[in-house]
Each structure stands twice: as structure tokens, then as C-alpha cells.
């Protein structure tokens, strides 16, 4: 395994060195190839991000490669990174599945002359080009500020439950940078509400069935449970179903994250009180633009923060809000 990757690296470096002068003079003429590796392919968020990246690619005349694994798993993502390195794109936009495990493979790509842009999730600390640490080489981190997203969810939920009662976070699994940050932001903001008690986080492994049962169990022991923050799609969906099963619709409010197409119904029938919708198309678009800027020798900001839209029953019909619903159309 070591030998193979070394040989690949040697070949890539030789090719890059040999063709170095050629590519820099032809940069303007040949359409650069940029690859996008999503966190996982089967997810409305990443499908929408792909759309945004495609729009930017079309506008800039970039050839966009898209490859990803069907599951959020570093052991699946790493071989894809290696396969993409072999295609020698000018840059890779990637949503790393693990803060640590992807540092090595991406460093290999960087050493082979491929620029790296982290989208949505990050490696190392997410703060790049500072001269410190072994995960410093990516040129930019383009994402929503998930800590802020968690704070916004906390504020909206606190207001909805009258600033008192118990709440808990329904999360996926530990060590995913985005959901970790949302939970952190949520818990931090909740410290500002002395009458709200934050119960222990429940991990559901991205299974709605488990999230529902966990909700019912927490509700069973904490009858003053007033709110739940679902840190991702299936967490919120499961908790929402748990509320329904427990007959507590209206009594326990769910703050969801992300806006798949089913969000319209879920907001209107009260399953969710609100959702924090990210702007994945923006992330894809600006991620690609950042990569293109670097590849054409222009400066790039090391962090690009995209926004959120808080969607509620009241505003979901407004086209300016509804346009942020994640869809593949």
C-alpha cells in the first residue's frame, strides 16, 4: 500500500514538474478541472451544494468532477481522494468526513500540486494559511458558521418555549465537525437562559427510528421537556416523530437544522417549530470560485462564511425564504 501511494505520488509530482511550465502558460487557454468531493452523495444538502458548484463552473468555464461516497465514512472517502488525485485536477473542493483522518490524504494531494478548499466540514482546526499546524495547507474554508447556526437555533427555540423548561440535543455521532459545532453553539447560547436546563445529548447514529425512541425515553423521564434541537436531518425527523408518537405535538418544540423538501410540510403541520437552513448552493458556488481564483493566481480569503435562513411556518411561503429549500432541481 505504501509503495503504491509513493509511486503514485512520484508519478504525479514528475508529471506536475514536467508539465509545470506548460500548464502555467496554458492556464488561460485550457479549462481547469476542479473536483468536488461531498461529505456524502445521498444528502439533499450536498446535492444542492453540487448545483451551486456547477453554476459557478459553468460561469467560469471550469470542468467540474464530482465523486463521493454514499455514506459519511472516512474509510470510504479516502480512496475517492486518492482516485481524484490520479486525475490531476487543479483543485479539490472537499467536505472531509473526519477532522484528522483526511489530513494525510489531502496533504498528498497538496504535495502533488492540487489546491485544497474545505467546504462545509474541515480538517485540523479549520483555520488555514496561518503557518501553524499540519493541516494548514488548504487555501480556504467555505461553510456556514455552524457554531452561529447552533446559537441561532438556541435563541429561536428559547423564545418559542417561553425561556423555561428542559431541552436536549439530538445528535448524530461525535467528531463530525459540523454537528459538533452546532451542539457547541446551542449549548453556549443556552447558558444565557438561566431557566432552561440542557439535558445530556443523545446520539442516534443518523437513524430516525432511534432518534424517535430516544426522544420518547427522555420525555418519559423529564416531563418538563420543552424543546429539542435536532442537529441534522434525521435527528430532527426522528425527534419530530417521537413527539408525534408521544402525543406531545405543540407541547414540545423541535428546532431542526437544514431544509430538505419535506420541511414545508413539517413546518406547516407543527412537527418542527423552526429550522435553520444553510445555503449549500452558496457554499458550492463560492468554494468553486475560491479554487478558481487560486488556480488563476489570484488571492483568496482563507475563510468564507455563508449565511443561514431561519424558516418558520410564518415565512415558509415567502419565495425569498422558500428558495433556500434544498432540492436537486
Amino acid at each position: 500500500m505504501e509503495r503504491r501511494s509513493f509511486l503514485k505520488l512520484a508519478a504525479a509530482t514528475a508529471a506536475a514538474a514536467g508539465a509545470g511550465t506548460l500548464t502555467s502558460t496554458n492556464a488561460a487557454a485550457a479549462a481547469p478541472t476542479i473536483a468536488l468531493i461531498p461529505g456524502l452523495t445521498a444528502d439533499g444538502f450536498y446535492v444542492t451544494m453540487h448545483k451551486g458548484a456547477e453554476a459557478a463552473a459553468k460561469a467560469l468555464g471550469v470542468n467540474l468532477l464530482y465523486q463521493g461516497a454514499a455514506k459519511w465514512d472516512a474509510t470510504l472517502e479516502i480512496p475517492i481522494v486518492e482516485a481524484i488525485i490520479a486525475k490531476k485536477p487543479a483543485a479539490i473542493l472537499i467536505a472531509p468526513n473526519d477532522k484528522q483522518q483526511l489530513i494525510g490524504p489531502l496533504k498528498k494531494a497538496f504535495d502533488a500540486g492540487i489546491q485544497i478548499v474545505c467546504v462545509d466540514t474541515f480538517i485540523g482546526t479549520g483555520v488555514f494559511q496561518t503557518g501553524a499546524g499540519d493541516a494548514d495547507f488548504p487555501i480556504s474554508y467555505v461553510a456556514s458558521d455552524n457554531v452561529l447556526g447552533g446559537r441561532m437555533a438556541a435563541r429561536a427555540l428559547a423564545k418559542a418555549i417561553g425561556e423555561k423548561g428542559s431541552v436536549y440535543v439530538s445528535n448524530v455521532k461525535p467528531n463530525i465537525s459540523t454537528t459538533d459545532q452546532r451542539e457547541q453553539g446551542f449549548k453556549d447560547e443556552m447558558k444565557n437562559y438561566p431557566n432552561i436546563k440542557v439535558l445530556e445529548t443523545q446520539f442516534n447514529d443518523d437513524d430516525a427510528n432511534k432518534a424517535a425512541a430516544q426522544f420518547q425515553a427522555v420525555f418519559g423521564r423529564a416531563p418538563d421537556l420543552a424543546g429539542v434541537f435536532g442537529a441534522n436531518l434525521f435527528s430532527a425527523s426522528g425527534a419530530g416523530n417521537g413527539v408525534k408518537q408521544a402525543g406531545a405535538t405543540g407541547k414540545v418544540k423541535i428546532a431542526a437544522f437544514d431544509a430538505p423538501e419535506s420541511i414545508v410540510k413539517d413546518l406547516k403541520d407543527g412537527t418542527y417549530e423552526m429550522t435553520i437552513a444553510q445555503h449549500p448552493a452558496e457554499i458550492g458556488y463560492f468554494g468553486l470560485v475560491a479554487a478558481y481564483a487560486k488556480v488563476t493566481n489570484n488571492p483568496v480569503p482563507t475563510a468564507i462564511g455563508t449565511g443561514f435562513t431561519v424558516m418558520t411556518k410564518a415565512n415558509i411561503d415567502d419565495p425569498n425564504v422558500a428558495k433556500f429549500i434544498y432540492s436537486s432541481k
Binding site: 445521498a42 444528502d43 455514506k71 445530556e200 425512541a213 418519559g220 423521564r221 416523530n241 408518537q245 414545508v264
Partner: protein, 344 residues
């Protein structure tokens, strides 16, 4: 019920044997007692005598159990069905898609659109079921590999049909099936699962199909020589398993008002664990539907109970794993005591 039981020389072991066979139920009783004590002391509430808790546990166990029912037949036949993880998701996605098409394009009213979707979702699972059966029975592919291949194919198919997202369904009738209560307190989902248990129990214990399944699991060679068409039997078993995956998937769509390709992914190992805890041997030849029911409830009670008494979430994984290991050890012990394992 178990065919390959060696002669036990004395009458004394029969009590131990009975205990070993019913170990899943004993586990369940022990767990319930533990949690009952814990909730009474810690929270002043009851674990068992709470309709709320019973409903929650029953609904939690329903879908893994539906998968486990089909898996029971497969495991008794000395096989395994890994494709259920995504056959369930495929059914869920197709059910959602066709319910929507029925309502929007074929002018069906909600209950008809729902039936159309459910039937389509279950029907589509016939394909992976037949492919599994054909690969394993007629091409001699080992069940682990064959169903692992279909795991991948179903996964890709489910994601392709869903376009990488979940398919939202807006159908009150369908939502009622997944979430409604009969008589005010019995979840319809539980009634459907219970009906499936009764049907499959009858199939396994009272029909020739069931008896032949045991025979095949105990000794394929002997079953062949006895004139059982093992190939056709294998095909039927994997078909049954896939169809149960289809039922589970259709139920998922009703419950969450959305079809999700990964609906069954987290449930696969629970379904196998339920069968094993319930007394089946992974080598085949033994196992019962009621054992699987007990196994599914053991897993649900542990996972629900630990959250209810506010134990650190990671202990749940350890607990379920420990129960599986103890089950297998008891199973091994039982076999050694009886004198030799099942012939393969």
C-alpha cells in the same frame, strides 16, 4: 421444534435445556425487573406499567422486528441476508415515489394512492429477493457474499431513485398507518407487526415450508437426499426475507412521511442480533419466530431503558453487544451439553 436434538440420556438436563431455549425471554424479564427497580428508585415512576413506555418500546422494536422475521427464516436455513439494509430503503423510496405519482398524476385519492404506493414498494423487493435466491441457490454463491452484493446494488438503486435525497410524502392516511393508534392506544404499526409475527410463526412452525427450512439448515445434504427441493426452497426463503424488508420499508415511509434510501441501514445488525439473541444459531437449524420477537424486544428495552434512566449513551452499545455475546455463549454451551453441533 428444533430437529437436530441429540438424545439426552437423563431427564435432569431438560430443565436447563428449556431455560437455554427460552433465554431471550429470561433476558427480557431480567431487564424489565432491573429497569423497573431503577425507575422506581430513581424517578418514582414505573417502567413496565406505563402505557407510554410500552408504546414507545413496541414502536421502536417494530421495524427491526419486521426485518428480523424474514431474517429468522434465512438464518435457520444457515444463510444470512445482508441486503435487507437497503432493500428496506429501496421499498421505502419506491413507496413514497409511487404514492406521490398516484396522487398527482393518476388522480388517485389519498387512501388509494397509499395502497398503490405500499403495494409498489413491497412488490419491488421481489427483484432483489429473487436475485439473492438465484445467486445463492442456483449459482452456489455463499449467502454472505451474495446478499452483500445485493446490499450494494439495492443501495445504489435506492439512492438513484431518490436522487440522493429523501422523498417527502403528504398523505394523511399513510401517516396514520405509521403513527395512528387503534382503540386510542395500540399503535397501528404494532398491530401490523404483530399480524406479521403470527403469519410467519404459522409459516415456520406449522407448514412444510417451515419444516423444510429447519431441515435444510440442519443438514443441506440430508434435506436433499430426503427429496426436498433445496434450491427452490432457498429461493423462496430469500424472497420472503426481501418482501419483509419491503413491508418494513413501506411502514417507514408512513411513519416518517418520507422515503429514505438509508431507512434500513441502522436496523440490519439489530435484526440479526434479534434472531441470534432469540435462540437461533448462525450455523442454521434452530430458531423460532417468538425467539426473534423476544430478541427484538431485548434490544429495544435496553436501548430505550438506558436513555430513560439517563445512562451515558455509549453504554447502550456495550450493553447490546454484551447481550449478544452472552446469548452466543449460552447457545454454544447448550450445544456442547447436547453433544455436538449441527451438521452443516
Amino acid at each position: 421444534m428444533t430437529l437436530a436434538v441429540a438424545a439426552s440420556p437423563t431427564s435432569r438436563p431438560s430443565l436447563l435445556i428449556r431455560i437455554a431455549e427460552l433465554r431471550a425471554w429470561l433476558f427480557l424479564i431480567v431487564l424489565v425487573i432491573v429497569f423497573e427497580t431503577w425507575t422506581r428508585i430513581g424517578y418514582g415512576t414505573s417502567f413496565l406499567f406505563s402505557v407510554y413506555n410500552l408504546q414507545a418500546i413496541a414502536v421502536f422494536a417494530a421495524m427491526p422486528l419486521l426485518l428480523g422475521l424474514g431474517q429468522t427464516f434465512v438464518i435457520i436455513s444457515a444463510g444470512i441476508d445482508l441486503s435487507l439494509a437497503f432493500v428496506m430503503g429501496l421499498a421505502s423510496v419506491i413507496a413514497a415515489t409511487l404514492t406521490n405519482i398516484g396522487a398527482a398524476h393518476l388522480g388517485m385519492n389519498p387512501p388509494v394512492a397509499m395502497m398503490f404506493g405500499i403495494l409498489a414498494g413491497v412488490a419491488v423487493t421481489i427483484i432483489p429477493g429473487l436475485v439473492n435466491g438465484w445467486l445463492i441457490a442456483y449459482l452456489g454463491v455463499p449467502p454472505f457474499i451474495g446478499t452483500l452484493g445485493m446490499y450494494g446494488v439495492s443501495r445504489g438503486a435506492a439512492y438513484l431513485f431518490a436522487g440522493g435525497m429523501t422523498i417527502a410524502v403528504d398523505n394523511d392516511w399513510y401517516s396514520q398507518i405509521g403513527n395512528g393508534r387503534a382503540l386510542g392506544f395500540i399503535p397501528i404499526l404494532v398491530i401490523i407487526t404483530a399480524a406479521a409475527c403470527l403469519v410467519l410463526h404459522y409459516l415456520l412452525s406449522q407448514t412444510r415450508f417451515g419444516q423444510h427450512t429447519y431441515a435444510m439448515g440442519a443438514s443441506k445434504a440430508a434435506a436433499n437426499r430426503a427429496g426436498i427441493n433445496v434450491k427452490a426452497l432457498t429461493l423462496k426463503i430469500y424472497l420472503l426475507s426481501a418482501v419483509m424488508g419491503g413491508v418494513a420499508g413501506a411502514m417507514y415511509t408512513g411513519r416518517f412521511s418520507a422515503g429514505a434510501p438509508q431507512a434500513g441501514e441502522a436496523l440490519l445488525l439489530d435484526s440479526i442480533a434479534a434472531v441470534v439473541i432469540g435462540g437461533a444459531s448462525l450455523f442454521g437449524g434452530s430458531g423460532t419466530i417468538w425467539g426473534t420477537v423476544a430478541g427484538a424486544f431485548v434490544i429495544a428495552v435496553i436501548q430505550y431503558g438506558l436513555v430513560l434512566v439517563d445512562v451515558e449513551p455509549f453504554w447502550q452499545f456495550i450493553a447490546v453487544g454484551a447481550v449478544i455475546i452472552i446469548s452466543v455463549l449460552v447457545d454454544q454451551g447448550q450445544r456442547r451439553y447436547l453433544g455436538g453441533r449441527q451438521a452443516e
